[in-house]
Symmetry: C2
Subunit: 211 residues, 2 copies
Amino acid sequence: MKTAERILLVSLELFNQQGETNVSSVDIALELDISPGNLYYHYKGKDSIITALFAMYQSRMIKILNAPANDSLSLEEFFYYLLLVFQVSHEYRFLYRNPSEIAEKYAKIARGFRRILKQKENVFDTCLKSFYEQDLLLGDTQQRQQIVELIGLIATQTPNYHLLKGEEINDGDYIFQSLATILFALTPYMQMSKEAYQELDETVRNLCKEA
Amino acid sequence: MKTAERILLVSLELFNQQGETNVSSVDIALELDISPGNLYYHYKGKDSIITALFAMYQSRMIKILNAPANDSLSLEEFFYYLLLVFQVSHEYRFLYRNPSEIAEKYAKIARGFRRILKQKENVFDTCLKSFYEQDLLLGDTQQRQQIVELIGLIATQTPNYHLLKGEEINDGDYIFQSLATILFALTPYMQMSKEAYQELDETVRNLCKEA
DNA sequence: GTCTATATCGGGATAGAC
DNA sequence: GTCTATCCCGATATAGAC
């Protein structure tokens, strides 16, 4: 593997593990067994590494978000879709650990973040609309808007919340937590029996385990 | 006012405005028109300032959380109570901007954070139990547990979510946003007409405006 | 209590040899 | 492409005079 590529991979790993601010360029070089000078030959410091990592994240996420929402989307499909979104976010989770820090340091990334978030909410809204048209979802337009906001909040902030609580949870559980919470928040507005809820909860759990 | 006191107040303001990592001890001294040496005479660096600020936050929050939950608590009272909690959190909001950073740097604070969060969830749970016993709240114990988690998530993470979206909102609106979202998430499980919901939403809005 | 001056340390960044 | 050596800078921290 080329050095430039290795730098990105190792940086991503270190950032995810220890948080962006706690990893210096020297740390990265050390971990790679190369000299700081060499690192700077490939990337002009942490800034350009982070920019490159964000570009990777962004392009993958956009691909997922552009997958056209089927107009007879099922709830299962919706959650499968959410799972894809979460998996990518999780691979680049350091970006979400303290977004405010990162956004302050890198204006470009802040814009990209907002764009992606907006697009996510659009997609959520489209999905909910589809449910509504299938008579699966109750409630009016205003409520749908609130649900979208709530899903956005859960989707982006659940990991931080669990971090705050100091809970040690592994990768799969942590994605499941987010999905389960979304399901829970969504259920009251869905035309759905308690049995169907529990079944879906189980399905989602298994999906996460496989992944 | 004594210098030691002024240091705390100005530090709090700067931290809230610019984020803890972006404010150096020199910045604080400069803002106060005193020398860095003088600052160090009173507090041994940012660490001890932050520790002192956290202690203030903690003692105020604990006082609020210890206010015994009335066993015939009304929804209005519950939201008034939440408002108090949010106001204090908001005064020390820099602590919540990137809790993971702060928790990593200051182990003591991390423990304090977790204790407070735990206590908050306990209080929420007590309130919900009271609603349940008054036949205001539907659902079983497990659902109540999930509601508590969801409220905790909304209460602590809503500000960050809006920061992430890059929305500029002022202090009052931002507290109202959190309360409104909690109300929205709670409603489906409450024995409550749509009119009662909107009325309460309005009441909460006014409460926030006054505050 | 407060100041000035200075020491220290770590991270970011570059020059030049190989 | 990679290394060593070095520089720069900002933040933290202390000493000693007033």
